[in-house]
Amino acid sequence: MLSVLKQEFKIHKKNIFITSIIFAAIYLCTIISMHLSGLFESEKNQDISALWFGLSVGLGYIGAFFIALFKGSGSMNDILFKDTGYLIKTIPVSSWKLILGKMIIGLFEFIVYFALYLLFMTFIFHCGEEIALALSMDIQFNDFSKEIVVLCVGIIVLFILIQSILNFSFTVYTSFTKKVKYSKIILAIIIYFLFSFVVELTGAFLNIIDFNLIDDILSVWILMGIFIVISVILYIGTCLLYDKKVNL
């Protein structure tokens, strides 16, 4: 297990570092832009600030998620669809350790990006009134402080869940349909159902946060527990398929 963690970190550390620098640079530009907007209250400056803010929020939520999911260590891409899969499948490490090790480093990668994002958002929250003024928006940033812990844990759990679903669907595809006629269409169908599933689950998650969080925080933790259980089941399925059915 340690050898997998060590190797996966070695492989991905450069990417993590470069991506983090890019994220940090964008967040910094946003903060500077907003600060300048606060100093010089012109409409043009506010527009530029809003643009940077949108870019940062989009990157933080979607960009970090997708980069870590598809380019990160946790993705099965390099062991199922590339020739490097030969190298990985012939190493004397069980699929359980291999896939878990990859997912842990993948999660670490996401947490690094997410921590940067949190740092940025913390700064924004801290300077809430100034930022709201810069964006000409009536936002009470302090309102969110209670939910932040649950939200962070929720996003991390959601990442684990989506990574598990993606890995499972790619392994199913490689195990059963890769060499079937119209396999690409089948893959598209699998991905469609996969994303429908993810969207449904995410929708349920967000609904609960929106409507029940303040009154019933326990239900959020229960939902996260369910997500973790689904992730574990999918992880077991992925390992078994990789071990018994995947032919390279």
């Binding site: 190797q7 390099d78 030969y86 499948k89 012939t90 004397p92 060499k179 390279l248």
Partner: protein, 233 residues
């Protein structure tokens, strides 16, 4: 004589097509086996099953008495017929990768082989030629103190000088505690190093035995025997 590899009634299907049909094969310790056959004859499927990359549909494969799995991966050193190293890797990264995962990997031997192959440890795989990558992969494969070396087309697509270097490496690193299986089309180049040969066609073994015995029985070289066996396909 200790058996390194024992294959019994091995069958491999790709949907309805049988790639291997009831293959029976055994390999003693210290022997070099030449596995030969035309394209699509089942050579690569057989080697991939031994290496643990593919699963058989029926039959049994034992490496040093163990069924194919994580334990046998510690005993088998596999050289695939394509580059499997990450393109961003330098030769030194590849060495570190092997050292991290294989307890039997000999780093000093790896550096010796890099020197012998005239490869730069700081050169990236993505900037290497096909021949250089082949030599790097072979160096890594033979830097392990494995029980069974499985080489799939080690001479394919490389120039005669690189080919000579690869054959020299095989001879240089061979020891009597291990066995080697070499799959190749270039019979003439390597037949002198084979102890045993096995001809495979349409998933079935059509001829198998000691190279020396076959040469004297048929009164011809293995290369000629190969052409005679497969010329009608």
């Amino acid at each position: 004589m200790e058996k390194i590899l024992e294959i019994t009634n091995l069958t491999k299907k790709y949907f309805s097509k049988k790639a291997l049909k009831n293959v029976n094969l055994s390999l003693d310790k210290g022997r070099i086996l030449g596995l030969m056959g035309p394209n699509g004859s089942g050579k690569t499927s057989l080697l991939k099953i031994i290496a643990g990359l593919q699963h058989s549909n029926s039959g049994e494969v034992l490496v040093c008495g163990k069924k194919i799995g994580t334990e046998t991966k510690k005993l088998v050193s596999f050289l695939p017929d394509k580059n499997v190293l990450y393109p961003y890797m330098k030769a030194i990264d590849a060495i570190n990768f092997f050292q991290n995962y294989y307890d039997d990997f000999d780093v000093n031997k790896a550096f010796e082989l890099l020197d012998f192959m005239k490869l730069d440890k700081d050169e990236k795989v993505s900037s290497m030629s096909k021949g250089m990558i082949e030599k790097l992969n072979l160096s890594l494969t033979f830097s392990r103190n494995a029980k069974l070396f499985v080489l799939d087309e080690p001479l394919g697509g490389v120039d005669p000088v690189a080919r000579e270097k690869i054959i020299s490496t095989i001879i240089k690193t061979y020891n009597e505690d291990s066995s080697i299986i070499i799959s190749t089309h270039l019979v003439n180049d390597v037949e002198s190093i084979f102890d045993d040969v096995c001809f495979i066609d349409k998933g079935e073994i059509v001829l198998c035995g000691s190279a020396e015995q076959l040469r004297s029985e048929k009164n011809c070289s293995i290369d000629k025997l190969y052409i005679e066996t497969f010329q009608n396909n």
